[in-house]
């Protein structure tokens, strides 16, 4: 092979090696590990076949973790999209004050969730927390927040929504601004009510944005970790334990690498399916003109 035919391969080699080494190899290594029993330290990796998967699907804990993740995802995505859309409709104006508010609600997105989780823990403290103080101010009963199985997952949802809502609102505002103004003028001449204008023009025109956010938010929420790790460690009584934290726990607390890898493969499949759905949808995105 002459140097000339080799050259393009040499050119792409560095990035290809990095890609294979840090993206492809770990995935296959994880799949391999999921068929073994290993404690991370011992040199022997015992091949155990599908035993890890059988244990995983029979585990009551894993089932709860899976449902926790689904509930967390559904609630976070639904609330963050709804609130973000309302915020976007309100903030879709060009004046300095709206710009400031936009910036303010976007800021959680760029702040480290680890540090903010500590702030939220302090605010959610049942005795001295700001949130219960506010509830008390309105003569509402205090909430146990993170300390009770009924409310702990919802408390994490609150933080999750708070974190993502500004980003979603910003994307929605961009979507709203790309809707041609003359459509609204045509609707005004067509005597459309505010609701008809929203339901028949704004929402359909926003559907590509909406679906984009839906998929991105779902994938992100499914992989929630920071808040669980910092605020609850999966408790109380596993009520806030979710997939990624579960994997982390089994891998690096209990050193059951094979079992953790099997859970990792399950997560990979779920997120993979959602990603494929995402790309399929992006290809079919509504385009006008």
């Amino acid at each position: 092979m002459s140097l000339n035919t080799l050259r393009p391969y040499l050119m792409v080699a560095p990035s290809l090696i990095i890609f294979l080494l840090f993206f492809i190899y770990p995935i296959f290594y994880m799949i391999y590990l999921s068929f073994t029993s290993w404690n991370l330290i011992s040199p022997d990796k015992t091949f155990v076949g599908v035993a890890n998967y059988v244990e995983l699907f029979q585990s009551q804990d894993f089932r709860q973790v899976f449902f926790n993740t689904v509930i967390y995802t559904v609630l976070t995505v639904f609330l963050s999209l709804t609130v973000a859309l309302l915020l976007a409709l309100w903030l879709n104006k060009s004046s300095a004050i709206y710009g400031i508010v936009q910036g303010a609600i976007f800021s959680p997105y760029i702040i480290s969730l680890v540090s903010v989780s500590l702030l939220w823990m302090w605010m959610m403290d049942p005795q001295y927390g700001l949130l219960n103080w506010v509830l008390n101010l309105f003569h509402l009963p205090p909430s146990p927040w993170l300390t009770h199985t009924d409310t702990a997952l919802l408390s994490l949802v609150v933080v999750g929504v708070w974190k993502i809502v500004g980003y979603n609102a910003l994307v929605f505002i961009a979507g709203l601004q790309s809707i041609p103004k003359d459509l609204y003028e045509a609707a005004a001449l067509d005597e459309a009510s505010q609701w008809a204008t929203f339901a028949r023009i704004t929402l359909p025109m926003l559907s590509p944005t909406l679906f984009f956010l839906l998929v991105v938010n779902t994938i992100a929420s499914f992989q929630v970790f920071d808040t669980v790790q910092i605020m609850t460690q999966g408790g109380p009584v596993n009520s806030t334990n979710m997939l990624v934290y579960y994997i982390y726990e089994y891998g690096f607390d209990f050193f059951k690498i094979g079992y953790a890898s099997a859970a990792g493969v399950v997560l990979l499949v779920i997120v993979g399916v959602m990603t494929v759905f995402h790309f399929r949808f992006m290809a079919k995105r509504v385009h006008y003109r």
Partner: protein, 359 residues
Amino acid sequence: MAAIELKDVSKRFGNQTVIRNLNLWVEDGSFTVLVGPSGCGKSTTLRMIAGLEQVSDGEIRMNGDPINHLPPGKRDVAMVFQNYALYPTMTVRENIEFGLKNKKVPKKERQQLIEEITAVVGLEAYLDRKPSTLSGGQRQRVALARAMVKKPKVFLMDEPLSNLDAKLRAQMRTELIELHKKLGTTFIYVTHDQVEAMSMGDKIVIMNEGEIQQATEPMEIYQQPANLFTALFIGTPPMNIIEKDKIPQLHSHNKDIVYVGFRPEKVVLSNEPLEGGLTLPAEIVNREILGHETIYQMEMSGIPFKVKHYDHPLEEGMRLFAYIAYKNLYFFDREGRRMEVEENKADLQTVAGGVRVCP
């Protein structure tokens, strides 16, 4: 059907006045064209009639009743937008139906109306298609159908043909004229294209810088321009305007005349000086041959002017006499207002090539 009246209407955006004390009477059933260069306020005027812009001052009346306070949907007007503004997520049928649904027209009646209208504009085969799958001309028809189905008292059109190619534009022009005849409804049509204005309107309103320059029938605008602006705006190539002092052949006692104008197509080229008009010795500097006509760029001692002729093309560099009959000369004062000097024709004396041609 309705007559529209604008009384002392002004429009300000911030502290910038775009329309100043506009008074306009749009006859019931007329095809009125608002024409002018971009930024002259013609679109703003139309949008104020539609209710998409609020008037800053003055009043808009429909059949004598003020409609300023009414929202666009309650004014009984329909509008065709420059880029059609079709609802991209709705099918053609839904696009046409949307206004009727909002007006709570019963389903049966809606269907009947849609069938009726789509037959008129020839869209029957496309009812279930989305606008993005239609051609420019078809979209234009959907926009028209959407406006027509509401049976409005007034049609407002904001440069509806400017996005079409030249051939389709000419065809749609004819169709719009026929549509107007068939419906008999008042049309108010905005364009920056003087050809469109001349060919379609039965009344033309020429605007500039937020003020009406002249509002009358097409031929009258062509023959009796009110000022320099209208004289230069209508006609291709535009009227030749020369300062009177630069034409030694033209003598006049009337000190108010500052500019003299004549249309390129009214010039007669000859080898000999002719009598009974203004004769300018000039040279052909350049020519544009368009087949059925030729446009000459001429020069008379440094002063350029254009001549349009339908005869066989003449050679560049030829020295000729350009003759313009008295009745084809226009006179303007310092402010550009046209002056009627008909009765003073005898006052004018023309000297061509040092020879007095006319007493």
